[in-house]
């Protein structure tokens, strides 16, 4: 450990153990700046770990490509897991610019409340709580026009200040890409733990080419990949019942990609117009269209994710 350099403290030194240590304006040029900042970062990581102590399993839903159905999948994964009333589920939406989760969960217009123990998630059911920047906006036209650092700050707040309580599954919905939000969530949640990532794609190459980048991102930041979900995989015409490939898998779809990269294909979900309609109405697709073939696809995928998390926990317990 390096010796602290000598010299007087800056006049408005925030204090070496404060959260602002090394980061306040007065710290610029202080020989201790780097040491203090590192200390503050460690304290922050400890605070996050403490806050997330009650979370048993965390799953990130990623893509790389926009519009493949990450939010739809996250919402249905959370709802599916919460169908077991004995499980406590939390859904965190870190898409700061395009928060779709409130609408999909039928929570548009809801606001976040503060309590002594922090921000309260908005509850859809007693055992399903949601947090999103959408709840902090007062109008549907409000745009969040923020650069990276400000987005990172809010993500940190979501993890540090929301009173999640005891949670069996924390599902994190992300925006498309491999940028600030993704780096930050992996960094902040790294203080606790992440079971793994579910990567959503559609069958066509234009999606797969972005998804391969996302897979590389996961490898770079050592994020385990639970598996890939191929969404919008085939459409059954309601009139003649013939199948059409609206987004043709010209390069073999997710199946071929998973084979090539040795990653698990968790399942394929067909295109059903009722999915979009339920999301728009903020109602559960599972209750609106229980007969849809997409329902059984989702249920099987959710089960596989649960199995992965249970195995993962078992292994951790073995280590301890």
């Amino acid at each position: 450990m390096a010796e602290a350099a000598g010299g007087p403290r800056p006049r408005e030194c925030p204090g070496t153990s404060s959260a602002q240590a090394g980061r306040a304006a007065a710290c610029q040029g202080c020989p201790n700046q780097r040491l203090c900042a590192a200390g503050a970062a460690a304290a922050e990581a400890a605070a996050l770990r403490e806050r997330l102590r009650g979370v048993r399993h965390t799953v990130l839903v990623l893509s790389g490509k926009g519009g493949v159905g990450k939010s739809t999948f996250s919402a249905l994964l959370a709802s599916g897991l919460a169908a077991d009333e004995a499980k406590q589920v939390a859904l965190l939406d870190i898409d700061i610019c395009g928060p779709s989760i409130p609408k999909m969960m039928g929570l548009e217009g809801e606001q976040v409340h503060q309590s002594g123990s922090g921000w309260s998630p908005v509850y859809v059911e007693e055992n399903l709580g949601v947090m999103s920047v959408g709840f902090l906006l007062s109008s549907p036209d409000d745009a969040v026009i923020w650069r990276g650092p400000k987005k990172n700050g809010l993500i940190k707040q979501f993890l540090r200040d929301v009173d999640w309580g005891e949670v069996d599954y924390l599902i994190v919905d992300t925006p498309p890409g491999t940028s600030d939000e993704h780096l930050s969530i992996v960094q902040y949640l790294g203080a606790a733990h992440i079971d793994g990532a579910v990567i959503v794609t559609t069958p066509q190459e234009v999606s797969l080419q972005d998804v391969r980048k996302e897979i590389n991102f996961c490898h770079k930041v050592k994020l385990p990949i639970i598996g890939v979900v191929e969404n919008m995989s085939g459409f059954i015409c309601p009139k003649c019942k013939n199948e059409s490939q609206i987004f043709p898998p010209t390069t073999g779809g997710a199946e071929k990609m998973c084979q090539n990269l040795n990653i698990s294909l968790l399942g394929k979900v067909p295109l059903d117009p009722q999915i979009g309609r339920s999301c728009d109405k903020g109602q559960s697709f599972f209750s609106e269209a229980p007969e849809s073939p997409a329902v059984s696809s989702y249920r099987s995928i959710i089960q596989r994710i649960q199995e992965y998390c249970d195995q993962h926990q078992f292994q951790e317990e073995k280590i301890i």
Partner: protein
């Protein structure tokens, strides 16, 4: 010293707010439509994490070269009527992830705006990633001195998409970017077996939004798997599928933009 954008007559941005609605597809098809009307077009792809444009023109393996005035854009055809710039050309391997935070993205975007030797172009189309963040703020700031014509906003019909596009409209208002109009993409699917039209992603949200926001509605583009296939394989869609349901819609959008050119700007 002459700026690299001095020879570009009109700059248009293609925005959404929502991912996966077809911004890159519409950018590509618009470029092809304008070219068929005899225009020289460039596409600047500022989606640094998910650059889709090179593959759509089947030039994803091309490299970018330097000249005295900066980077030479990649030409997609012999007569050099369409040129492209994208981070896709700068990656060593196509699966390389660009895992950059905002400031690094901003620096590259400024370079893309100032240092590409476009030469003389009728239109420069700027394809963007979804959102209202670093890439969008930096692109608009860097382009401001060159007075862009405006932005086309792409949405799909359903409420979840329209919800994000409303925010993009606010972004345009706040940054002083004129909205040329809204395109409703993936608007209806005609079954090739029985011709039944199903509104897979709902219908009408884009048109309603345009009415509500007081901006022009440029048209609906239906879902066409032949279009997806063609773009995947980098074929010239407009030349190959004039009978497609999507073709008249795309040609109509391009025509409205060209018609807008002959009118004095308000």
């Amino acid at each position: 010293e002459r700026s690299n954008l001095a020879g570009v007559r009109h700059i248009l941005l293609v925005l959404s707010g929502k991912g996966g609605v077809g911004k890159s597809t519409i950018s590509t098809e618009l470029a092809l439509s304008l070219r068929h009307s005899g225009k020289k077009v460039g596409i600047l792809d500022v989606d640094l994490c998910g650059p889709s444009i090179p593959r759509m023109f089947r030039v994803q393996d091309n490299d970018v070269h330097q000249c005295d005035s900066g980077w030479v854009p990649v030409f997609v055809d012999q007569d050099k009527s369409i040129s492209l710039m994208s981070i896709g050309f700068l990656l060593e391997k196509p699966d390389d992830a660009v895992v950059w935070r905002g400031p690094k993205k901003n620096a590259l975007i400024k370079q893309f705006v100032a240092d590409v030797a476009w030469g003389d172009l009728d239109f420069l189309i700027v394809d963007t990633p979804p959102g209202t963040s670093d890439e969008h703020i930096s692109t608009v700031e860097a382009l401001r001195p060159y007075k862009p014509l405006g932005a086309i906003l792409v949405t799909t019909p359903q409420a979840v998409a329209v919800g994000d596009v409303r925010r993009e409209l606010t972004f345009c208002k706040k940054t002083g970017l004129r909205v040329l109009g809204i395109v409703e993409n993936m608007s209806g699917f005609v079954c090739p077996h029985c011709s039944e039209c199903t509104n897979i992603f709902s219908k009408g949200g884009g048109e309603e939004l345009a009415k509500h926001a007081g901006v022009p509605f440029l048209g609906c583009v239906p879902l066409d798997p032949q279009l997806s296939q063609s773009l995947e394989e980098g074929r010239d869609f407009i030349r190959e599928f004039p009978k497609s349901a999507a073709f008249p819609a795309l040609a109509h959008i391009a025509q409205q933009i060209l018609d807008g050119m002959s009118q004095p700007s308000s």
